[in-house]
């Protein structure tokens, strides 16, 4: 792929983008923040592996076992390189970002582990934010309920920025877990500043990078977080694969989460010893071909270039901010300028429920957006609204598609006028 970004050429790699929906509507897919489409390169890599090379990994010593193991572990190498992980063994494959976040939450307050960073009880505090996805809220609620610890959070300003008020992070804070980029507001959070404050009091920092890794060049080593979670299906990879990255020393200090085959070193009936990371956290048969598919996705993204993708999305976002600004009664929830935001735009329209917006866009214009609270209900409560309509962009989107969205929105207003 050439260094010059050619969106039409990119689009050809995504079979679904040439699809006609019923009634002859062409598909306008503006829901990549929910899940991205997959290029032929990913689909065919998976198909080929299933068809000609598949077997279980690690435990199988025969020719196919070696092929699958090599491909699976090569995917780990690719993902590690893609996000700048200092060591490939720090990449743990999970089923999605949610499992990765839960894995970290479950490593606290485990009676069998006495590493002081992971003990948790009454008086201890966990800090999240009001703009988190449910997957970075509920695991912590469940944790504090189990342990008697306290859950605290940063608020969100009217502009949709993290309100880094003093006093939220205290000496009692054990971990701060926040989104790198909001899946509703598009806001990119000041990770370095959050990490600085957390580390000052000896707290760990977990970053939910589900919405950033797919869209920006990310260098984990430079970010300052201790643990980072992201998910394959939002970055051109298949469903069923997610990633947790952590510093080796930290991963070693954490208790295992899921127990079973492949995460052990030796097992007796009454006790076990565990494999070194990353295998310690990969119990059972992993999502083998899904990891391989994610590896192919990473290859594809590298081929296009993350810098080019970021710039393309930035141009789309600029275009959309302007175009949407001209739709009457439309109110964007989140930063209205280009600074410190990604290509995710959520909005309301006076007197019209997002469900109705989404339905008309879909039915009459083939425009796929997401409507609802986008798994961030507390953020919507914060803004006093039950739901928003969200358009989110990726490398394959065009300004023409934004025009289609805007045209659709005008029609929506006519229907419900």
């Amino acid at each position: 792929m050439s260094a010059v970004f050619d969106v039409e050429r990119v689009r050809k790699d995504f079979p679904v983008l040439s699809r006609e929906l019923s009634g002859g509507r062409p598909l306008v897919y503006l829901d990549s923040g929910n899940s991205s489409q997959k290029p032929t390169q990913v689909i065919e890599t998976m198909r080929d592996h299933f068809a000609m090379h598949y077997s279980n990994v690690g435990r199988a010593h025969h020719a196919l076992g070696t092929e699958s193991t090599d491909a699976y572990e090569a995917a780990r190498d690719k993902v590690a390189a893609f996000v700048g992980a200092p060591s490939r063994d720090e990449i743990i494959f999970t089923k999605n970002a949610s499992e990765a976040l839960n894995l970290v939450a479950y490593s606290f307050g485990n009676r069998t582990n006495d590493d002081p960073r992971f003990t948790l009880g009454p008086g201890d505090e966990i800090v999240i934010s009001e703009m988190e996805h449910h997957s970075n809220i509920v695991p912590w609620q469940m944790l504090v309920q189990r342990t008697g610890a306290t859950l605290k959070w940063f608020g969100v300003t009217d502009e949709g920025r993290l309100d880094l008020a003093d006093g939220v992070i205290t000496e009692r804070t054990k971990i701060v877990s926040v989104a790198h980029q909001s899946n509703v507001l598009g806001t990119v959070n000041p990770v370095a500043e959050v990490a600085r404050r957390a580390h000052e009091v000896g707290a760990l920092v977990l970053l939910d990078a589900s919405q950033s890794v797919p869209h920006h060049p990310v260098d984990l080593a430079a970010l300052g977080a201790d643990l980072v979670a992201f998910t394959g299906h939002k970055m051109l990879g298949p469903s069923g694969i997610g990633v947790l990255w952590g510093r080796t020393e930290l991963l070693e200090a954490m208790p295992p989460f899921l127990g079973g085959g492949e995460m052990i070193e030796a097992v007796w009936m009454d006790r076990s010893t565990y494999a070194p990371v990353p295998h310690k956290f990969e119990a059972g048969t992993p999502p083998i071909v899904e990891a391989i598919g994610l590896g192919a996705a990473v290859d594809y993204l590298n081929g296009v270039g993350m810098q080019a993708i970021e710039e393309h999305e930035r141009a789309l976002t600029a275009y959309a901010l302007e175009a949407l600004g001209e739709v009457p009664t439309l109110r964007i929830i989140g930063p209205k300028g280009l600074d410190g935001r990604g290509g995710t735009l959520s909005f309301t329209m006076e007197g019209i429920h997002p469900h109705d917006v989404g339905q008309i866009l879909d039915d009459q214009f083939g425009v796929a957006v997401r409507v609802g609270h986008h798994c961030a209900r507390p953020l919507h409560l914060r803004f006093g609204i039950p739901a928003t309509t969200r358009a989110s962009f990726y490398l394959y989107n065009t300004t023409g598609e934004i025009d289609a969205l805007v045209k659709g929105l005008h029609h929506v207003q006519k229907v419900f006028a």
């Binding site: 469900h355 109705d356 039915d363 209900r377 039950p386 229907v415």
Partner: protein
Amino acid sequence: MIAESMYQELILEHYKHPQGRGLREPYDAEVHHVNPTCGDEITLRVKLGDGGKIEDVSYDGQGCSISQAAASVLHELATGSTVEESLSVVDEFTRLMQGRGQVEADEDVLGDAVAFAGVAKFPARVKCALLSWMAYKDAVVRSA
């Protein structure tokens, strides 16, 4: 266009001019139902009258045109009918909604509610249409 089969005139009419909206006293039971996937909410009250009749169905809530219109139609159909009659309408409506567009609506039973037939093809919206109707069923059970 598909949407045309969903956004029937009648639905838009009920949405723009909801019938019986607002919470009224007295009532025998009040319920609050939520559709968590979209944040639609309804608070619904039932007042039973003589002879097993429904004296009033009053409600308030927020939601999309489908959920709002469905509540309005429900109010019209249930008020004044017997508990038994109204529950059989609820059953028929539920059957229609969960039929994925494969079920033939019984107009005699459903009356205006037949306008929602097109919604059945959109699984994500079925919950919107059913929100008030399920709340109603729940309220009737609690008022007994």
